[in-house]
């Protein structure tokens, strides 16, 4: 296996990019970061498109091996590097629980949280007018239900989404859940159990979490100042 550092192509405003960056930093995996500024359309450059025809971030390159999709990247890194096992357990039943979440994440946590952020922050910024209130409310309601399901199906009475210890499931989820904060919205307002979980995740991730999410706090303050 290559001992070359990981080259990570990221935009810190992208939720899955943050998850990969936090993982790299928290686990002290040797890496370099190449920023791909989505707001400036850098993902559409000829060079980046050659690297990833999907024109999405994050992407990693490791000794010539190119990989996209944050959960595939996290599972690869967790296996290649000597990280604590709780990130992606080897025991089959525990691993199945993490795989169950990372699958469900794609059709639930990710699109529903991203949609609220898109409508509240990105769309107004691009179009110069606020989103349709009825459509926004529909997106907010859907996200509310998804948070409910997150608690019922995954967190339940556990400390973390897939068991007693933090895993890549929590990392992926938290980055999505933080995103609407950029528009000043705390989507866990009605979910005290998830709020406790969020605190535990933040505590476990430490400094890399705070650094990575600084951009959202600044965005929130900018949004608030504009209103």
């Amino acid at each position: 296996m290559s001992s070359a550092p990981v080259k990570a192509y990221l935009d810190i405003l992208s939720q899955p990019s943050r998850a990969v960056l936090i993982f790299l930093r928290h686990n002290r995996i040797p890496h370099t970061v190449q920023t791909v500024a989505l707001r400036r359309g850098e993902q559409k450059s000829a060079e980046f498109t050659r690297l990833n025809p999907m024109q999405k971030v994050p992407v990693i390159e490791h000794g010539g091996f190119v990989l996209t999709e944050s959960d595939a990247i996290l599972k690869y890194l967790a296996t290649v590097y000597d990280v604590p096992e709780h990130w992606y357990p080897r025991e089959p039943l525990q691993r199945a629980r993490v795989d169950e979440y990372t699958a469900w994440h794609h059709s639930n946590t990710r699109p529903h949280a991203a949609r609220v952020f898109f409508m509240e922050v990105l769309m107004p910024s691009m179009l110069g007018r606020p989103a349709d209130p009825a459509k926004l409310q529909k997106a907010v309601d859907e996200l509310e239900q998804t948070m409910q399901k997150l608690g019922e199906m995954f967190l339940k009475r556990q400390a973390f989404l897939c068991g007693d210890d933090i895993s890549i499931a929590d990392l992926l989820a938290i980055c999505e859940i933080m995103q609407p904060l950029g528009g000043g919205r705390d989507i866990l307002k009605n979910h005290p159990n998830l709020q406790s979980w969020r605190s535990r995740v933040q505590a476990a991730l430490g400094e890399p979490f705070i650094e990575a999410h600084g951009i959202l706090y600044r965005l929130r303050d900018k949004t608030a100042a504009r209103l």
């Binding site: 296996m1 025809p53 999907m54 091996f65 990989l67 996209t68 999709e69 944050s70 959960d71 595939a72 990247i73 599972k75 690869y76 296996t79 290649v80 089959p92 039943l93 691993r95 199945a96 629980r97 795989d99 169950e100 990372t102 699958a103 469900w104 794609h106 059709s107 990710r110 699109p111 529909k138 859907e142 399901k149 019922e152 199906m153």
Partner: protein, 241 residues
């Protein structure tokens, strides 16, 4: 106690789990859940999966949902041939890459065609507006292009020379719009050739058996009692209209 697999073969992820389990000789009890009849809302099934989605398995005390998680769990437990979910780190990562991407691409875009073309007219009694249909067709077209360009390229299968979970998950999703009467293979020779290889690798008999229901859904839609399908109405309004 034998492994229970809860399935409805109209559902794409149910088909992939079914094919995988049968192909690999996994001993299991087939538990039918008719999604059309709303059986996923029954009390028993709620104990298997609180979110009431199929496929789901019950292995002793262990219940699991999400087809991808189920198949990788079964691959490990029953030590299926390596090519399904390779031990090689890079190959495995490439399988995971496809399984991840498809959730927001092949799956919703293929599924949508099935709903817009077949289910919604049956449940709601009206055809879907042309712009909506055209937009959905465009999305699927774009996805299939990306699939050929990035995931297939010049390879026989998505990851190298042999079939893997990636191909299996891909084919069942692509067959869904076919079931609704949209022959996506007609104008795509590369995709067709891949489909033939996948069908061969799975075994034509098993492949055809698993897809019998979906491929005859245009016929069965005609005889479907729309009053029994009304439990889909809320979801349709929320999701598609």
């Amino acid at each position: 106690m034998v492994l229970e697999i809860y399935l409805d073969l109209f559902s794409q992820p149910c088909r992939s789990v079914y094919i995988f389990a049968k192909k690999n000789g996994v001993p299991f009890e087939y538990k039918s859940v008719s999604l059309l009849a709303g059986e996923q809302y029954g009390e028993e099934f709620g104990k298997i999966n609180v979110l009431r989605k199929a496929p789901a398995i019950r292995d002793g005390d262990f219940c699991l949902a999400e087809s991808v998680a189920i198949m990788t769990y079964l691959a490990e437990k029953y030590k299926t041939p390596d090519h399904w979910f390779p031990a090689d780190l890079q190959k495995r990562a490439q399988v995971n890459e496809y399984l991840s991407w498809q959730h927001s691409a092949m799956r919703p875009h293929g599924s949508k065609i099935f709903w817009l073309k077949l289910m919604i007219p049956r449940v709601m009694g009206t055809e879907v507006p042309k712009e909506k249909m055209d937009a959905a067709l465009e999305d699927l077209d774009g996805t299939l292009k990306l699939f050929e360009e990035k995931f297939l390229q010049d390879r026989p299968f998505i990851v190298g020379d042999q079939i893997s979970l990636a191909d299996l998950v891909a084919i069942v999703e692509i067959m869904q719009p076919v079931g609704a009467g949209l022959d996506v293979f007609e104008t795509r020779p590369k995709l067709s050739a891949w489909r033939d290889r996948v069908r061969d690798a799975i075994g034509a008999e098993l492949f055809d058996e698993a897809h019998q229901g979906i491929l005859s859904s245009q016929e069965s839609a005609k005889s479907m009692d729309s009053s029994k399908l009304q439990h889909f109405k809320a979801r349709i309004l929320k999701k598609f209209l």
